[in-house]
């Protein structure tokens, strides 16, 4: 592999934005910020595929304006993987057959958690089983179907209130499913060359992971946690603080898996209590302190695994006893 394209300081980040004005995302939108960083990392020789979701509907609509300075095409909600493969296959075929100049073109899919972890999961898995280079799928995870009005997805955390998992007079917890770890599942695809998780803080971490992913020798996947003021019921000014708090409380684990080696990108030591992160968000405001402690217990247990994985440089599947209160509701 060629020299790692690492950006060491914020000053070295390209000043040109390929995701620019012309969209109407919410103030403090984490997913939009992720788009901006991603396209800074990918550069102009890139095609972007956008499955239906927040980053489809909120990036267009009103004035026929487009925020993209690179070729961009919508794809259906469950079609991110297939769209990426179709696009990459076209470039490889046309170049192989001499119908197009040979050069490196990035194919990037930016899909939400519903489109990636739920309806598009089969196609994503198919895409990760082929060998297309410079092909990166980024899952921007705002932990709900935020575009349609905050319905729970399979990556919504336990205890979150959503419009499909509201709390009520007899249901006190909200979402009873535990968050699916999509990146771990993708790492189980033998053809995948680079898997990482990231969040918006620190920004260089995500930019560099995206650069590494595109320079990998095959398909790559990044699971990006993006705070969502609309769905998490947070003040727009706290988006980056939430990213940071997710890391510091250990509720989001930033890691990389490359060439068979696992490594943590950040170790929260000492790890802060999850309460700090949860209490910033109204979607968790109904949780009583015993439920918060339940989440703290699960997080601590999970971290035993993450530290062990980091120490041994191998992938393991964290096993956490489900919260007792799930069955009792």
């Amino acid at each position: 592999m060629s020299e790692r394209p690492i950006i060491r300081t914020v000053r070295d980040v390209p000043s040109a934005d390929l995701y620019t004005s012309g969209h109407r995302t919410c103030a403090g939108c984490g997913a939009a910020l992720g788009y901006r960083l991603l396209l800074k990392a990918a550069g102009p020789k890139t095609v972007v595929l956008g499955p239906t979701g927040c980053m489809y509907v909120a990036n267009g609509h009103q004035f026929l304006s487009s925020p993209y300075s690179v070729p961009w095409y919508h794809t259906q909600l469950g079609a991110g993987g297939a769209a990426g493969v179709g696009t990459a296959a076209a470039f490889r075929s046309l170049m192989m057959k001499g119908k197009r100049k040979k050069e490196e073109v990035n194919v990037v899919v930016y899909g939400g958690d519903g489109g990636t972890g739920d309806i598009g999961f089969s196609g994503l898995s198919m895409a990760m089983s082929y060998d297309y280079k410079r092909f990166l799928y980024v899952l921007y995870d705002n932990e709900s179907y935020a575009n349609t009005g905050i319905q729970a997805s399979s990556t919504t955390p336990w205890g979150a209130s959503t419009t499909f998992t509201p709390t009520g007079k007899i249901k006190r917890i909200g979402n009873l499913r535990m968050k699916k770890n999509v990146a771990l599942i993708i790492a189980a695809h033998p053809g995948v060359r680079y898997v990482a998780t990231a969040t918006l803080f620190p920004p260089l971490d995500f930019i560099n992971k995206a650069k590494k992913a595109l320079a990998a020798d095959g398909p790559a996947f990044i699971h990006l946690l993006v705070p969502c003021p609309k769905g998490w019921f947070t003040d727009p000014k706290y988006t980056l603080d939430l990213s940071r708090s997710a890391l510091e409380t250990g509720l989001w684990v930033s890691w990389e898996y490359e060439s068979g080696e696992f490594s943590l990108s950040y170790r929260p030591e000492p790890r802060k209590h999850v309460e700090e992160y949860l209490r910033m968000q109204k979607r968790f405001e109904h949780l009583t302190s015993d439920k918060i402690e339940e989440i703290e217990r699960m997080t601590a247990k999970e971290w035993d695994y993450w530290k062990e994985m980091d120490r041994r440089k191998i992938m393991m599947i964290p096993w956490i006893a489900p919260p007792l209160s799930s069955s009792q509701n």
């Binding site: 095609v47 259906q76 079609a79 993987g81 297939a82 119908k99 100049k101 196609g123």
Partner: protein, 411 residues
């Protein structure tokens, strides 16, 4: 003819092969130098993908071939490869097409010249290898061109013409080339493939107007819109394309005839219609059986003609009204159903009926529904003609819709 001349003619005759419909279509895909192929198995279409995979393994031509995880992904792959500028091939059958409904719909609205083979098969449930047209016809309203071949030779020809028509900038719509399951997909017949050089001239490489490629100006395609902005205008583009396709299809078949020497009437093929009083109207492979029955019954003095519809979209309403205006009674030999439609009849029947509505001279119109996959016999077609004859004699008929292959009292 002098002996020497006839010998040289024989020598120069193009080579003929015994090919199934799926093999013939695979040969067309190879001749068209398709760049990206997306596959997923389902009978009876899937033989085409087996053939293509073997051709690629043997180095007969070069393409990227993806075995997808589903028909949904399969049609998405073709759509997105087409948007970059690749010539693409895809296909399916039965419930596979239903599974791919979402990408099928957006491919047409995205104006992408994907060509798909449909190996017509009954929809589930229960699983059924029989032949019905509903798997394709559920997309009749979505902006795909649809043609029905009668045999492997025409299937090959239709695929090459489909690429030419679909990629024409006056059209830019995807095409289904439908072939009847088993009767065409699995039955071998003589096929004469055209020369590769000839095909290259007939079908130059696809060059999209706005490729999704950073080598060109950046394009934002299918951005979400407020419906009030350009919603109706976007629909009208597809509608205009469909209208313009009528002329482009005629041009393409003329050019194809000049190139290969086989002449097809573009929209409807007529047999014995010059003096016919009764007509059978159908599409696909069973038109041959209808012609066989007509030939036989003409020996009895019955003036039977056959009309074979080659394109369901755009639908040849004018041509049908003209030719059926000459007969007293016509029967639609139909492998589709449309439960609860007018007379609870079928898709093709309703379409033919509406084509005749404005006509001053309308025949009695009967529907013969061969549904559920049970294969018809020539006796069924004969019975159909006799019913038509009875009706045309009286000038009136009480019952319009018949299920000839159904067992039990309802028939």
């Amino acid at each position: 003819m002098p002996k020497t001349a006839s010998k040289s003619v024989v020598k120069n005759l193009p080579k003929r092969f015994m090919w199934t419909g799926t093999r013939a279509i695979a040969e067309a895909v190879k001749l068209a130098d398709v760049d990206v192929i997306a596959a997923y198995p389902i009978r009876p279409y899937t033989g085409v993908m087996n053939s293509l995979a073997k051709m690629l393994a043997d180095g007969e031509f070069a393409a990227e071939m993806i075995g997808a995880d589903s028909e949904h992904s399969q049609f998405e792959i073709a759509k997105h490869a087409s948007a970059v500028g690749a010539r693409t091939f895809v296909g399916s059958s039965g419930v596979g097409l239903a599974y791919a409904a979402e990408p099928i719909v957006v491919t047409a609205l995205g104006q992408l010249p994907v060509v798909a083979m449909a190996g017509c098969r009954a929809l589930d449930d229960p699983g059924n290898f029989g032949m019905e047209w509903n798997d394709v016809l559920i997309f009749r309203d979505s902006g795909w061109l649809m043609s029905w071949a009668k045999d492997p030779q025409e299937a090959l020809d239709m695929v090459l013409v489909a690429y030419r028509v679909s990629e024409d900038r006056r059209v830019l719509l995807p095409s289904f080339v439908a072939v009847d399951g088993a009767a065409i997909t699995h039955i071998s017949a003589p096929v004469e493939p055209p020369s590769r050089e000839g095909v290259t001239r007939f079908l130059p490489p696809y060059k999209p107007q706005y490729p999704l490629d950073p080598a060109y100006e950046p394009v934002t395609k299918a951005q979400h819109i407020a419906p009030s902005l350009i919603g109706p205008e976007l629909r009208k583009i597809v509608d205009n394309s469909m209208t313009q396709a009528v002329e482009v299809i005629q041009e393409a078949w003329r050019a194809y005839a000049a190139f290969v020497g086989r002449v097809y009437p573009p929209f409807i093929e007529e047999k014995y219609m010059e003096d016919a009083e009764i007509a059978l109207v159908t599409m696909g492979a069973y038109a041959k059986d209808a012609v066989h029955v007509a030939t036989k019954l003409r020996q009895e003095g019955l003036k039977v003609g056959v009309v074979r519809i080659r394109y369901f979209r755009p639908f040849p309403a004018k041509e049908l009204a003209e030719t059926l205006g000459k007969v007293k009674a016509a029967g639609v030999v139909d492998f589709s159903y449309s439960f609860g439609s007018t007379d609870s009849s079928s898709v093709l029947f309703n379409e033919v009926k509406s084509a005749l509505y404005e006509s001053s001279s309308r025949p009695l119109l009967l529907d013969f529904m061969f549904v559920g996959g049970r294969e018809p016999s020539v006796e069924h077609f004969e019975q159909a003609v006799r019913l038509l004859q009875k009706g045309s004699g009286k000038g009136v008929i009480e019952r319009h819709v018949w299920w000839p292959t159904l067992r039990g009292e309802n028939q």
